[in-house]
Amino acid sequence: MKRETSSIPSNALTLPAVKRDHIQGLIDAPIALVEYGDYECPFCGQAYPIIKAIQERLGDRLCFAFRNFPLINSHPHAQHAAEAAEAAGTQGKFWKMHDLLFENQEALDDEDLAEYASTLGLDANRLIGEVLAGIHTARVREDFRSGARGGVNGTPTLFINGVRHEGGLDTLLAALIERGS
């Protein structure tokens, strides 16, 4: 049996991959932060504004990538939410959807997802159609697999320049600055 191989190079599972990842900032920035997250996970919800603030603070020095790690047994809406963000990505608005989802973690059923698509001026029928047809399931799974192999042990798991951040969010900024200098 041949295993499906991820397009993320196995020696750099936890570094941003320029051609596939959703990235904010420049790929060659000195500090790379990769988050494995779940839109329905409350801890990821708490991390969201903190990472935003850190991005503002570090500016061009930081490259941030988000990968999906939906815990679907605990979070029944997490898979569709992840796929909705990917679907929004195909219409050019991944990050807008990413933000909306984290700002509305309590309302993530399919109707809500369609509504957010409309709010963002996206083709909501197309977006929800893609979600229901599972067009982006494989992509989300690929993120998940890279995380399982890369050392993700819960959500959110954060990697700074490929190394798992073991501390809490309160030490994240300091760790980023240290690794980037």
């Binding site: 049996m1 295993r3 996970c41 409350p42 801890f43 708490q46 991390a47 969201y48 504004p49 903190i50 935003k52 603030a53 815990l71 679907i72 047994n73 605990s74 933000d99 700002e103 998940f144 697999r145 399982a148 192999r149 890369g150 050392g151 993700v152 042990n153 819960g154 959500t155 959110p156 073991e166 501390g167 809490g168 969010l169 309160d170």
Partner: protein, 192 residues
């Protein structure tokens, strides 16, 4: 809403995601020597209850890889919980033809409630009476705590331990080591 959160952060962010107990445990665990059975040892057979009226024996799985995940107790926090994580990664284990088994000293009724609550889709065995007997066989019982270590064993289809790992009790070891060990077994099989 986001702005408000950022303000809170600016004032004092004391939030630590799911690893807060880990750091405490790491501090207290010291450098105790592991007594866990190493790679190359025969995996001792055992029979334990998985539900009030069902038992599972290791020998039932001869011919396929088995992952034994000893863990201290049911009911640890949701998002960082090791068994919940393995539940999510189960399809990956299954693709590598491996059987995943969780073992703790909790009784069957406790496991039953935990399995139902967390929708666990693999067997959790009760190493309950005599307490910790199987953990002791594998060298991963913590006498002082009355629970097992957080220990992983990947057993090959012939019943020999291929890989073992003991994690600090409060640290979720993730699945990376298990997946690598299972892939090694898969590659060996293909090379034959």
């Amino acid at each position: 809403m986001a702005d408000k959160k950022m303000e809170q952060l600016a004032i004092n962010n004391i939030f630590t995601p799911m690893n807060n107990e880990a750091t405490i445990d790491q501090r207290h665990s010291g450098n105790h020597k592991s007594t866990a059975l190493p790679a190359g040892a025969v995996a001792p057979d055992f029979t334990l209850k998985s539900t009030p009226d069902q038992t599972v024996s290791l020998s039932e799985f001869r011919g396929q890889p088995v992952v034994l995940a000893f863990y201290p107790a049911d009911w640890s926090p949701v998002c960082g919980d090791q068994m919940a994580l393995y539940n999510e990664i189960l399809p990956e284990f299954q693709e590598l033809r491996a059987e995943l088994i969780g073992i703790s000293v909790d009784g069957v009724w406790c496991h039953t409630a935990f399995v139902r609550d967390r929708k666990i889709r693999f067997p959790l065995l009760a190493d309950f009476e005599p307490k910790g007997a199987v953990a002791k066989l594998y060298g991963v019982y913590r006498e002082a705590d009355g629970t097992s270590e957080r220990a992983l064993f990947v057993i090959n289809p012939e019943g020999i331990i291929h890989w073992s790992y003991v994690s600090p009790v409060g640290v979720n070891p993730g699945a990376e080591g298990i997946l690598s060990a299972l892939e090694e077994l898969q590659n060996k099989k293909e090379a034959k």
